[in-house]
């Protein structure tokens, strides 16, 4: 189907979007949700398994207290009420990556309910309602071999790795978010960013979207002003912050095109494609599986001691939003400057660079300048650019020590991003150090004066501005490794100007 998509401005002028987000977070506990197997990412397939997470006959789950604690802390950080009594439930459906063909999850009795998270979008505060936060177990991973699409359809073989099966997974569901109009894609991104920061500050997960420890489904619908909310679609496979924004936007445009043409939206799951930035239909919700939820009889109900919950609440870390406000003041940034730091996803990177000894201004310059530019060009998150805060701090210390000038430092940084080693190693290996030996420099200066007698005369006669040409010549012979200011001073001194 080739439909010409309407312009975004026209879409938001005609329709009101309502969005909702379901986020899955793999907890960073040492062991799985219901057994003692380790949870580390990677590992040879099916090596981190036992009778319990393989769902062997006779095996039984025992809930992981650390995972329950982490979930309660997430709930508290999101201003939720913590259930005094709740239960796990079985979600029944057949799929080979589910060892038991049911998932232990929570249904109508989640651990945390009814909270909110405030996010800033373009300097405006938007309160995102949190419907629920619940705890469940992750599934294994299926690899379909032999098909054209890598999907189950058409595959000749299906391989399953159960290492991930049983890793504690927290699902955070927002309430529907209406009334945000054209900002919907940015609100979605801001929410996931803020949520990620909250989760990271709690230390409950490594929240890496590309490794799947933070996964997001985006619900989108459109309605005409004053009318009821439209039929929603659920977009899966949204695996980066940038994709969250693109997925909402793309789905708004697609739905508008359907509605404009007099069509109706099908309630369905859609898959987001990173490469094209659009969505394609998955399974239709109208023929969705009946999960036959019922309370998990192998586990006892969960009744967190209110005293314990209060203790957890008392020691929650500072919320990222408040933390950022404090940083902004310490760094002396304007709201606008801070906003660009936020937009670039650079808060923690700059914070860590400063902690490693760099001045706020220099740290900000590197992350928002050279590194952000490269991140945008290559389409990766700033945090994954390949340079660490420690490396950036090291680079700046070389500049501060006069060993690198700005231009050389950028060359060294390229080497860092390319994985060539530490800034000092790259500087040494590539011979990029500023020429600070004044003997060698004086020789180069004398050479330049001898080669350009007319310019030298001009300078001697007081036309100091002409020195630039000689500086250029010296820089050329030293392959840019001289400090231009020093060169200029030397020239003027030699010519008595």
């Amino acid at each position: 189907m080739t439909t010409t998509l309407p312009a975004y401005d026209e879409v938001v002028a005609r329709y009101e979007p309502v969005i909702g987000l379901e986020t899955h977070v793999e907890l960073g506990t040492n062991t799985k949700m219901f057994c003692g197997c380790p949870t580390d990412f990677g590992g040879e397939p099916n090596t981190r398994v036992c009778p319990v997470c393989l769902g062997l006959p006779g095996s039984l789950p025992v809930a992981n207290k650390a995972a329950i604690e982490a979930t309660i802390r997430i709930g508290l950080a999101l201003n939720c009420s913590i259930a005094e009594w709740c239960r796990f439930a079985r979600k029944n459906y057949f799929y080979p990556d589910m060892p038991k063909n049911f998932q232990i999850s929570q249904y109508d009795e989640p651990l945390c309910v009814d909270g909110y998270l405030d996010v800033e979008v373009n300097g405006e505060m938007v309160r995102i309602g949190i419907e629920r936060v619940h705890l469940e177990e992750d599934t294994g991973k299926t690899l379909h071999v032999g098909g054209a699409t890598g999907r189950i359809h058409g595959a000749t073989e299906s391989l399953v790795d159960y290492n991930r099966a049983g890793i504690p997974l927290v699902e955070i569901v927002t309430k529907p978010i209406p009334g945000i109009g054209a900002l919907a894609p940015e609100v979605a991104r801001a929410y996931v960013t803020e949520l990620r920061d909250v989760l990271r500050s709690l230390g409950v997960s490594d929240v890496r979207m590309e490794e799947g420890s933070l996964r997001c489904d985006v619900n989108t619908s459109l309605n005409l002003p004053g009318e009821e909310w439209g039929t929603r679609t659920e977009t899966k496979n949204v695996n980066s912050l940038r994709s969250v924004e693109r997925a909402v936007r793309s789905e708004m445009l697609r739905q508008a095109a359907v509605l404009d043409a007099g069509g109706r939206i099908t309630q369905e799951t859609r898959h987001f494609h990173e490469d094209t930035g659009d969505t394609t239909p998955g399974r239709s919700k109208e023929t969705a599986t009946d999960y036959r939820y019922f309370p998990e009889p192998d586990l006892v109900p969960l009744a967190p001691d209110p005293v314990w919950v209060a203790e957890l609440k008392a020691v929650l870390p500072e919320l990222p939003r408040l933390h950022r406000r404090r940083l902004q003041e310490a760094w002396g940034l304007s709201d606008l400057d801070m906003q660009s730091v936020l937009n670039a996803g650079a808060v923690e990177l700059i914070e860590q660079t400063i902690a490693a000894g760099t001045s706020p201004a220099a740290a900000r310059k590197w992350w928002l300048g050279e590194l952000s530019r490269r991140a945008n060009e290559t389409g990766v998150e700033l945090a994954d650019i390949g340079a660490t805060p420690t490396q950036v701090a090291e680079l700046q210390s070389l500049v501060d020590a006069g060993k690198l000038n700005d231009k050389l430092a950028r060359t060294v940084l390229e080497g860092v991003v390319a994985g060539e080693g530490s800034p000092t190693e790259i500087m040494t290996n590539r011979g990029l150090e500023v020429v600070s030996d004044t003997g060698a420099l004086t020789a180069a200066v004398d050479e330049a004066i001898a080669a350009n007698p007319e310019i030298a005369d001009k300078i001697r006669s007081g036309k100091v501005a002409a020195a630039g040409a000689l500086v250029g010549a010296v820089m050329k012979t030293t392959r840019g490794q001289a400090d231009a200011k020093t060169v200029r001073e030397l020239i003027l001194a030699r010519l008595g100007a």
Partner: protein, 491 residues
């Protein structure tokens, strides 16, 4: 020396401890007996000759080394094929697990090994413990040693028949709706269902998680109590396991054996003492009630008005849980796989595997349970059944404010002929009419032989409050002291 297979577990352990016989000798005697009679009984699905003799040798070596051994050391035991045994086939009576050798031991089996008992093998059962006659085993029915044309009860018919046929002095069963007690009753043996959570379910292949309870089977009440003590107690690998010590069932059995029940108030469940049970069963039961009175017990009638809803509630809850528990049998990770010819889809292979691997009764219950849990029907079926469960629990709680324990016939009828009830599921379900309320409540129940009807054994059931398992042992042991044990005719 007298025949070792005719002895109680207590007697065997005593002889082994005194060095008058060895565990190996005892084990060999039972293996010989199995070899001699099991083609007629079919109590065993798997006899682990080598494993049993090796375990027996170990016990003898430990004794020789001067180690202090437990009260059941050297005693052979038969284990229902519902419990996982490391490296030893575990089929749950189903084709779908044919040939599966679990990589781990159930907690019960671990504790049996620790206690120095010697596992002879795995016993026959209705497929996935769903049935009351062992006729639903995928490996052929077990026969009742009292009359091999009759059923030995179920689902644990194999364990009960092994006891009655003197193939083993002890056995393990599992009781979801009566699968320990009802086979005990119809084979003239003792079967106890502990308090739910009093024995670990880890490694018990689940039928209905909220009801399944492993427990002891024996030919005497004291032997059952000793076995109960050995396998019971908290297991951190089972979240539903109760973190409390095992009630002192051995002391209670010894106290009961004195034959004095003075001061004990027993309630006859009105609803189970009239119509619903066949006359011969009622006659034997009423005679036993008279005996209990003579032993000093005070007998009162107690009405439990909601017990009549127990059977329908059970046949919603158990199938619902089983429909989910049995989903894992799909041919992907273990057991049978059918139709994987490289052309069929995964879904087709799963479907063909389940079609071929499960028997008709298992499929019936999976379908009932799937329906009962379906969106739109949940409240009317599963939800309603859970409410009935609460009402039944209240009946028990109210009753135990008046009496120490409740009594009833264990089952409405004696062992019926093979094939008599297989064509009508409801007639089969009625076998558990009197045992099911206890499972829904979660309390303990024991069946002890109380007499004969037309030459076939009748069992009396004692039901006690949760975690008061000792009470039922006392009453059962007292009755046993008065009526004695029952020996079937020679096979």
């Amino acid at each position: 020396m007298t025949d070792l297979t005719r002895m109680t577990a207590t007697q065997i352990a005593g002889l082994v401890a005194a060095g008058e016989t060895s565990a190996v000798e005892v084990t060999q005697a039972h293996l010989d007996r199995i070899a001699a009679v099991d083609d007629r009984v079919n109590a065993f699905l798997h006899v682990d000759t080598e494993g049993a003799l090796a375990a027996a040798q170990q016990v003898d070596a430990r004794r020789a080394a001067g180690e202090a051994l437990g009260p059941l050391a050297g005693v052979p035991i038969a284990v229902k094929d519902v419990l996982t045994t490391k490296g030893v086939p575990t089929t749950v009576g189903s084709k779908i697990l044919e040939g599966w050798r679990p990589p781990y031991d159930s907690t019960i089996v671990q504790r049996l090994r620790a206690a120095g008992t010697v596992m002879l093998g795995k016993t026959n059962m209705d497929e996935f413990a769903m049935g009351s006659s062992t006729e639903y085993s995928a490996y052929g029915p077990t026969r009742n040693p009292w009359d091999t044309d009759r059923i030995p009860g179920g689902s644990g018919g194999g364990s009960a028949a092994a006891l009655a046929a003197y193939e083993a002095p002890l056995a393990i069963g599992s009781d979801t709706g009566g699968s320990i007690r009802q086979p005990g009753a119809v084979t003239g043996t003792v079967g106890a269902k502990p308090t739910y959570g009093g024995t670990s379910r880890y490694g018990l292949v689940a039928f209905s998680s909220s009801l399944d309870t492993p427990g002891p089977c024996a030919r005497t009440v004291l032997d059952a109590a000793l076995l109960h003590e050995a396998i019971g107690g908290h297991d951190p690998r089972d979240s539903t396991s109760i973190p409390a010590p095992v009630p002192d069932v051995v002391a209670a059995a010894k106290l009961g054996a004195t034959g004095d029940l003075t001061g004990v108030r027993l309630g006859v469940v009105t609803e189970f003492a009239g119509e619903g049970a066949e006359p011969g069963v009622l006659a034997a039961f009423n005679e036993a009630v008279d005996t209990l009175t003579k032993l000093g017990a005070e007998i009162v009638e107690v009405s439990c008005p909601h017990f009549k809803y127990a059977l329908p509630a059970y046949y919603l809850i158990a199938p619902s849980e089983c429909s989910s528990n049995l989903a894992r049998f799909d041919g992907v990770r273990f057991g049978l796989r059918v139709g994987d010819d490289g052309n069929r889809s995964l879904e087709e292979v799963m479907s063909l595997t389940r079609e071929a691997g499960f028997g008709a009764e298992v499929k019936r219950r999976i379908m009932i349970g799937t329906y009962a849990l379906s969106s739109g029907y949940y409240d009317a079926y599963y939800g309603q059944a859970q409410k009935v469960r609460t009402l039944i629990t209240r009946d028990f709680t109210a009753a135990f404010e008046r009496v120490d324990a409740l009594i009833s016939p264990t089952t409405p009828f004696v062992a019926f002929p093979l094939g008599a009830r297989t064509s009508d599921p409801y007639q089969m379900y009625l076998a558990d009419l009197f045992t099911i309320p206890t499972n829904l409540y979660g309390g303990p129940g024991i069946s002890v032989p109380c007499g004969l009807s037309d030459g076939l054994p009748v069992g009396l059931q004692v039901m006690a409050p949760t975690m008061a398992d000792d009470r039922m042992y006392r009453v059962a042991a007292a009755l046993e002291s008065a009526v004695g044990t029952f020996t079937p005719p020679a096979l």
